[in-house]
Symmetry: C2
Subunit: 368 residues, 2 copies
């Protein structure tokens, strides 16, 4: 990989990440004011939603959103401000999804801090007295998290609906945005129901990846941005041919990093996918190729919160020996190449095209 290109890419990503954070912060500050005009309770909730949303995140989705626009149309001055403003819609969607997901998965931590429902469970215990009983605090915490997710879902759509782009484009962009919300919802229903069911096929895993990650992370944001610039069907089709394989590469790389990555880089404990019982493609592939004894061992580790480093190491060895790591790496490589080919053949504006080719390599090679 050309490190010179890499430096440019990083600079661009950093520039937009900061801009996106600034716009997000200012949008949510206005929402804090809006809520404060109603009640101090509502104000505090939105203050916490702001803190939660700004805890971190790579902001890749709004960056793809912006570059979807830039594929079709130049941005300068006001146009850049307007598209960055609109791009935070997808980050508000992300925040809504994470808050609701954390309730469903009963997670306690998100980016090193309490998840939203845990935050409000604790606030409840502190403010309204320990006499309440913990069931009431848990209920209150989840209620606040449900409501805040609902509000953030609406905020994201408001950002688009109130944007200053051509009204017909806005209407179409909203339809695409809502399609993503639906797909993620359907994917999540599949995910948690098949977990209950206790069995899942490789096809179902790929389908869930496609619904929850592939279309949502890359294809969707690119297309929404492009629609706001007036893109037609053939242009959206190219974005699909680029976005879907790259989205799959992104997810599979995530699975690899979750098991083999460095804890300080990926920002979560190594092996947490296994602890959470996630049946990643990596694990499913290994299960279909290991010995019966290894199979029983892996199934015992899945969902075990008290996993030791030795056990994680043993899972890694099985994944390597069965060729599942190589298989997954190949999947990442092939999908990244497929995405790049689609982009190279496109007639998008050169600056955006170059950026999207480079970021595909970045996603395929990333260590976090």
């Amino acid at each position: 990989m050309n490190r010179g290109i890499d430096t440019d890419l990083n600079a661009t990503i950093s520039y937009y990440r900061e801009e996106i954070n600034r716009h997000l912060d200012s949008f949510l500050a206005n929402k804090v004011d809006e809520a404060a005009r109603i009640s101090p309770y509502a104000r505090d909730v939105i203050l916490n939603a702001r803190e939660y949303t700004l805890r971190g995140g790579k902001r890749l989705r709004p960056i793809f959103f912006i570059y979807g626009y830039k594929c079709i149309s130049d941005v300068e001055g006001d146009a850049e401000r307007a598209i960055i403003d609109a791009s935070i819609s997808i980050e508000l969607m992300q925040s809504y999804l994470l808050i609701h997901d954390d309730i469903m998965d009963e997670d306690e931590l998100r980016r090193g801090k309490p998840t939203f429902h845990v935050l409000y469970r604790d606030i409840c215990e502190r403010e309204f007295g320990p006499g309440l009983g913990s069931a009431k605090s848990v209920r209150y915490g989840e209620n606040m998290a449900i409501l805040t997710g609902d509000l953030l879902e609406a905020y994201g759509e408001e950002v688009l609906a109130s944007s200053s782009f051509n009204a017909e484009y806005v209407r179409k962009a909203l339809c695409k945005y809502l399609e993503i919300v639906r797909n993620v919802g359907y994917g999540q229903i599949m995910d948690i129901t098949s977990e209950m069911q206790g069995s899942i096929t490789e096809d179902e895993i790929l389908m869930i990846h496609q619904l929850k990650t592939a279309s949502y992370t890359i294809e969707g944001p690119l297309q929404i941005g492009a629609i706001l610039a007036g893109a037609g069907d053939s242009e959206l089709q190219v974005m699909r041919e680029y976005g879907i394989p790259l989205g799959i590469a992104f997810q599979v790389q995530d699975d690899i990093l979750g098991l083999f990555g460095m804890e300080d880089k990926i920002g979560k404990p190594v092996g947490s996918d296994i602890r959470e019982g996630k049946k990643t493609l990596l694990i499913m592939h290994a299960l279909s190729r290991c010995t019966e004894e290894e199979r029983r061992f892996i199934l015992r580790t899945l969902g075990n919160p008290h996993l030791t480093m030795d056990e994680i190491e043993a899972v890694r060895e099985i994944v390597v020996r069965t060729g599942s790591l190589d298989y997954s790496r190949k999947l990442v490589r092939e999908n990244t190449e497929r995405a790049k080919r689609a982009m190279i053949q496109s007639n998008f504006r050169p600056e955006a095209r170059e950026f999207l080719i480079k970021i595909a390599d970045f996603i395929g090679d990333r260590e976090y």
Copy 2:
């Protein structure tokens, strides 16, 4: 009240109610198909969401939506179909809010059948075996209800975003729609937090009424419909002057019926507001005017699920003796009159104006 007029009104309401139900059913049938293309799990969830949404309901909100449009513009043929289609957006919002509210309030029944989270708790126990443990089934039930509410929230917005009206009007209508979602969310935060807090002022109750009911039940739907017909600010202002007082009248009448209504007409057990600990205006007013002994008695009944009919009768007597029933009835009457005056003075299209004046009387006099 002129009974002849009443018959016309009922016929009109019945006509639109049936049309709305037909459009809702057909929209949700398409969503069942959409979900079925993804997974049988998703299909089943949307089938249940359809059943839930079609269980009943007065459909007053979409009727106000349609009449908001009719205040400004004629509807015939295709235009009528299009506005009825768009009006179901507000009923999908209602369905989303009820499903999430039922989780928050831990309610078991909605319109005589299991609430959504209870339905899926039971499905989980039946399908995935009793070996799971009840905590897991409860979690699964709530998760499905959270996701289904999220999907219905998005469906409602999709109905508007994909409608065939002028794109600029659609954009503005969506902004108004999302304002309602926010207001209801803020109101709900106030409501459940003040409940935890254990104290609430009359001003706060009025504010919650305004956020959760007044703007949402009448003003909002009227305005969205009117915006789709191209209404300007002065026309929306008249709808506010009609919708806000009538929304308050609607809510206070609801409170009265909840304590004094006939069970077979209101469709829920008499006194359920008290059992649920709802501090309605009726109760708050009585609390501020009764004896210390009566006050302790009322506070003991609030939130007590095992209330007897004798105790309900005793609360009723206090509410009557303190003049709180008269006070509330007067509030309903005055607000209904204020709403009617605003409508009479408007220059809206005559048929719509007459209907909205008549329905104001209906709301003020209704027994269910």
